[in-house]
Symmetry: C2
């Protein structure tokens, strides 16, 4: 393994260890030594990649957005916006990065972390895809993409919150589906609405579709030359790294 690949892998191991410790103990109670122990690396290795606990938390929060797999294009932009949320709900059931970032985002850590970052990021992404949907004639004339994006992001954060408090993460996929089914009829034109998939399990189905598309591309492109680490550097993980097939 090349030196660069090893460094990337070590960074990843540390990031995942940090995520699992943050998820268990929260930001305030987490100590760097807990992460060092969990990652089974030296303190020096950790500080080579991350300056501080804050840097680790911010990296986890960033990874939450970066690691969304390249989702397959759909017939409507609105379906793609819904898929983004449904995939997140699905990832919450197994991905430690997503789970940790939800806790970090929801936690009241005073000024220690700029937690509005993920909100702003999600709101921007949502507003952009809703704007595309509007331009494509998929949304009712009165819809303001920025306002709707705010409502969706805030409401989505609310179901994450309820999932944390009631501890039933399994219900999360069903709750996300219910949320979209309550919000989308007020924004979509009827012909688009009728064709949308907002049923529970949508996240799992989209990831499976993305994985099939990726296998096809790989088979066509020939051998993979260090594709995983290179894409990781570019801030995007191959789908297969995010969710094992069939989950």
């Amino acid at each position: 393994m090349a030196l660069q690949d090893r460094a990337i892998r070590t960074r990843r191991v540390i990031l995942e260890a940090a995520a699992s410790v943050f998820e268990e103990h929260g930001y305030e109670a987490t100590k760097i030594t807990d992460i060092v122990d969990r990652a089974k690396v030296t303190k020096g290795a950790l500080y080579h990649h991350f300056d501080s606990k804050e840097a680790l938390a911010l990296a986890v929060l960033e990874a939450q957005l970066e690691e969304v797999p390249p989702l397959p294009a759909q017939a409507s932009r609105l379906q793609e916006a819904i898929d983004f949320g449904m995939v997140f709900a699905h990832r919450l059931t197994y991905d430690p990065i997503v789970r940790a970032s939800v806790r970090l985002t929801l936690e009241d850590t005073g000024q220690a972390l700029k937690r509005s970052g993920p909100y702003d990021g999600w709101a921007d992404l949502s507003a952009r895809s809703l704007q595309q949907a509007k331009t494509g004639g998929e949304l009712l004339p009165h819809v303001d993409p920025d306002e709707t994006a705010m409502v969706i992001v805030a409401a989505y954060a609310g179901i994450n919150l309820v999932a944390r408090f009631t501890g039933s993460r399994e219900e999360h996929d069903k709750r996300a589906a219910l949320l979209y089914r309550h919000l989308v009829p007020s924004i979509a034109v009827p012909s688009v609405l009728a064709a949308l998939d907002m049923a529970p399990g949508r996240g799992r189905r989209v990831i499976a579709e993305a994985e099939r598309a990726q296998s096809t591309r790989r088979a066509q492109d020939g051998p993979l030359v260090a594709q995983g680490p290179q894409r990781l550097v570019a801030g995007r993980l191959p789908v297969a790294r995010v969710g094992p097939a069939g989950r």
Copy 2:
């Protein structure tokens, strides 16, 4: 002032002091002595009314639900359910009890506080009023009141969360209105939908209406004999105690 009245007033002063300290510092960082100092009472007086910091926080959380003023009856049960949320959004701008209970509810205090209480309370209240709306033919046939109540309560918690993080409480009334305008079209029959008031400022307008109704009742009922404290014992505050007229 009778001894009982004085005790009720002292309890109230302590509760409001606790609310303002919890809102500023959060549950974990709050010390009983901070509350004693803020309330300008003795430690003995505080412990006469509340056993512990936890008891104080739970009393603040309870007061959040109890102190909803007796809102005026509306033409539709759905409007009443919306009014409940819009009044809460309005109270958030001035009522320390509501502000504190939002922070306590959203905060990640581990197992220290059973924070699902307010969620369950709101969800029960919402489900009941939606069930009445459904029985009255105000909701579309597919609506499941429990599911819709979960969505509304979770989404509402989400806008509270965003209000805390972005620090713009002034926008909260507008966000609450936007939330209802996105959710309600998917559950209401068109004739009911067309007559609903979901515009910003609805909370302020309903409280003003409640206050006018209360003045009329008082004028008809004759002199008030210790009405305030007695109603407080009964777990309901007169509207005038919750929000000053015209706010």
